[in-house]
Amino acid sequence: MIGAGALTAEGPGHNAARQRGAALDIRGLTKRFPGVLAVDRLDLSVGEGEILALLGQNGAGKSTVIKALAGVYPHGGYDGDIRLGGQPHQPRSIAEAEAAGIVLVSQEIAVVHTLNLAENIFLNAEPTRYGFIDSALRLAGARQVLRDFGIGLDPRTPMSVLDLATQQLVVIARALSKNARVLILDEPTAALTDPEAQRLFEHLRALKQRGVSIIFVSHRLAEVFAIADRIAVMRDGRLSGVHATAQTSRDAIVSEMVGAVRSGAAGGLAVPERGATALEVRNLCVARKGDQPRRFVDDLSFSVARGEILGLFGLLGAGCAEAMLALFGAWQGRVKGHIFLGGKEITVKTPADAIKHGLGMVAQDRRDALILDHSIADNISVASLHTATERGFLDKPKLRRRVADLIGRVGIRAASMDAPVGSLSGGNQQKVQIARWLAADTRILLQVDPTRGVDVGARAEIHEIWRRLAEEGRTIVITSSEAEELVDVCQRVLVLRQGRVVAEVTGSQITEDRLLRAATGG
């Protein structure tokens, strides 16, 4: 069955869109989880053809709101009144919400790589004739959906060959083919580079012209200010303010999110006396397997001193994360170059080699680095088992003592060290990763965008941990997708663009503005 709206994306309500009524109206939305009030009497409305940004720290309740709207939480699981175009919106499932015109595009780009575009677009909505899939109709429909959204691709293209942004666009096109009146985008740019994000925004503006309402959840303030008509800020489950974008400022929004007036720009830290060189990297080149000409890291050289916190900053694809993975022996492609530790050259082919030499890496994706169903204790101990053995057997009391100490030292909040790591918040999970390396007495900590998706409070705690570790004489190298974080914690930042260092900024010179300019070439 081809949805009625699939081929007529201009759909009903197109003209009415100009009349700026409230497309979506939420009154008194309240959602409780046992012991927690996730959303507390929220009132919010979105006009037709309006882009509303929904901001807030992790745990503020944004996800809960959009999940209620999109039918992830079935109607009845929350209190309050939601109206869509004046009609009560009471979806019992995602399918019902979509049928009513509210479509959620979630953060992870959910596509089936082994299928082509047309198959992905009509996944679970395949047009059929006599019970068999009508591929011609599917192809025609997909072509229409893509053309309608301005994506000039053959619908027979396999999904796997597309870059993330295009995949994201296809997912959004697919969402719109379901005749969406309200499109909810949860961090749509998390995986995109800047130009890719710009492309997405152009499409969003075009949708807005058609009268589609968009709820846009993002952590990137610059984007929000570029695209949103209004900004709604949530804090602790409540709506703390809604502002016309033109009449507010980033600072105001941030303080509203944080709940306290932000102190003036930190402006970097004083540069302490430079200690002995701990790690030196010379002529590092990182490329994919095979003979592809593109190098992710191109002749990168730098050194870090003991007790220094060095930042690597660059947009996605600039080579920061790739350089870190290569240093840690975790890059599964080609690596060239020399690594010196305390003046001696070392060979790092696998993470085991790196760990042996006293390096550790806190990975960005906690699903890669942690064993979510295993306990906190097991996750912390896994890289340092050999240092707690007695005649070949694990010394469990010693292991547990060490874990208990580390939990206290990095401030992991959990009922017990036997709780599964998957039950912890993102910030606590990252602390588990840090504790793992402290258990192994790692001298050099590489951190790849370690606080992505970590709320502001936990982030401040993690920054404090880094500072203490640096004071102990450990060396920290961090990449971050947020310049602000590097401004707060680094003594020196290298800015990378296309795998090369384009700027080196130290001390009070480190400002968000400067880093971003260098990274974007602006």
Binding site: G59, T350, I371, P397, G427
Partner: protein, 407 residues
């Protein structure tokens, strides 16, 4: 699907609900401990049923010892199966591999008149080589263990048939057969059981004392009460069983293998790495675990198991029958592991659980045979039990995930 989204949700960031759940859910029992005792209850239930259904015959010392003997080969195979499944590998070849080792033992002792000890050593070496061979394919060439051992299942069986020309090689020397039929006398058995209990208790007390000294536990009572009473009950039951004729050597072998394997899994870095690798291979790799080495060692252990089981089986049936020895053993072993709580997705599983699983299936066979239930019905019943066991496991896990997410 649900599980995946939940896992992602959990992984995707800090949520209030998660933070609350950590405080709200003190873990008195590990999930596996709870499951283990649930399995024990099911087993006791089945025993009680057969006790009444057979007018008491089922729960006689004689029958229980027989039951243990009948379950011994599957138990041995299940030990190896748990270790492999925990690291996300499968072994479909164990039945055929055991047949091949059996053929080696039988040919060496019967046709070539090689002394039994030498033949045993040679067979163990052959088993190890078979394990190493499969391990190489899995680790160096990256072929999935499912395929490697599926192939092994075919050609190990084929080789045994080629070597024996499909004929039975029997009878093996009395000293080999005596190993499978012999008993450690009751007095010695009691001494052995008490000695094992004493050593176990000593280790527990020592560990608890050290934990107390390092202030990881508040009182000695809690950890000791969790382990020692069960051990004493087990010991008393074992002594009662052994008072009939003693402990069969074959059961001693199973016990030794199980205890060693459990110790390796629970108390050595290798075991911890095995669980980590099974729980999340990428996380293990990023923590410095050499995945290939661990998996290869795992297959070496499986190879050693081929040797042990092949010898035990040949001794037990007093010869090698290339066509039928160890037939479906791999499936029984995997079933025992799964019933015993080993997760097919890896990272979770206990040796003792698998032994209970093997006993459970053995009990069904034994009990139904005593009741004169025809074989066809027995297979049907075992299949349904396996299905129920896995379904209950999945249900329990889903509930766990749900409460973890929203409670």
């Amino acid at each position: 699907m649900q599980d995946v989204t939940q896992a992602r949700y959990l992984a995707s960031g800090a949520t209030f609900a998660d933070a609350a759940s950590v405080q709200a859910r003190p873990r008195v029992f590990g999930a596996s401990a709870l499951r283990g005792s649930a399995l024990l209850l099911v087993l006791l239930g089945i025993w009680l049923f057969f006790y009444f259904a057979t007018d008491g015959t089922f729960l006689t010392q004689r029958n229980l010892v027989l039951l243990a003997l009948q379950s011994s080969i599957v138990s041995l195979a299940a030990i190896s199966a748990v270790m492999l499944i925990v690291s996300r590998n499968f072994d479909l070849s164990v039945g055929s591999a055991v047949a091949l080792v059996g053929v080696v033992v039988a040919v060496l002792t019967v046709k070539w008149n090689v002394p039994v000890p030498l033949a045993v050593l040679a067979s163990l070496a052959v088993g190890l080589m078979m394990g190493a061979w499969q391990g190489l394919w899995v680790t160096k060439l990256g072929v999935s263990s499912f395929i490697v051992t599926l192939a092994g299942m075919l050609y190990f069986r084929g080789l045994s048939m080629i070597i024996t020309n499909g004929e039975t090689v029997a009878p093996v020397p009395a000293s080999l057969k005596g190993f499978a039929t012999g008993f450690l006398p009751p007095a010695w058995s009691a001494v052995l059981i008490i000695a094992c209990l004493a050593i176990y208790s000593l280790i527990q007390v020592r560990t608890a004392l050290k934990a107390k000294r390092l202030e990881v536990i508040d009182s000695l009572a809690a950890p000791l009460m969790r382990t020692l009473p069960g051990a004493v009950v087990f010991g008393v039951a074992a002594i009662w069983l052994a008072s009939w004729q003693g402990i069969p050597f074959l059961i001693l072998l199973v016990a030794a293998c199980a205890i060693t394997a459990e110790t390796v899994m629970r108390a050595t870095p290798f075991g911890a790495k095995l669980y980590a690798l099974g729980g999340n291979p990428e996380a293990a790799r990023l923590s410095g675990v050499d995945l290939n080495r661990v998996v290869f060692t795992n297959f070496l252990i499986a190879g050693f198991a081929y040797g042990v089981i092949g010898i035990a089986l040949t001794a037990r049936v007093s010869g090698a029958v290339a066509g039928s020895a160890g037939l479906f053993l791999e499936l029984d072993a995997i079933a025992a592991a799964i019933i015993g709580g080993t997760a097919l997705s890896g990272g979770k599983g206990r040796i003792f659980g698998a032994i209970l699983g093997a006993l459970l299936m053995g009990s069904l066979n034994n009990g139904m045979s005593l009741m004169n239930v025809p074989t066809f019905y027995q297979d049907t019943a075992r299949g349904i039990v396996l299905l129920l066991a896995v379904a209950i496991d999945q249900y329990g896990r889903r509930r766990n995930a749900l409460t973890r997410n929203s409670a």
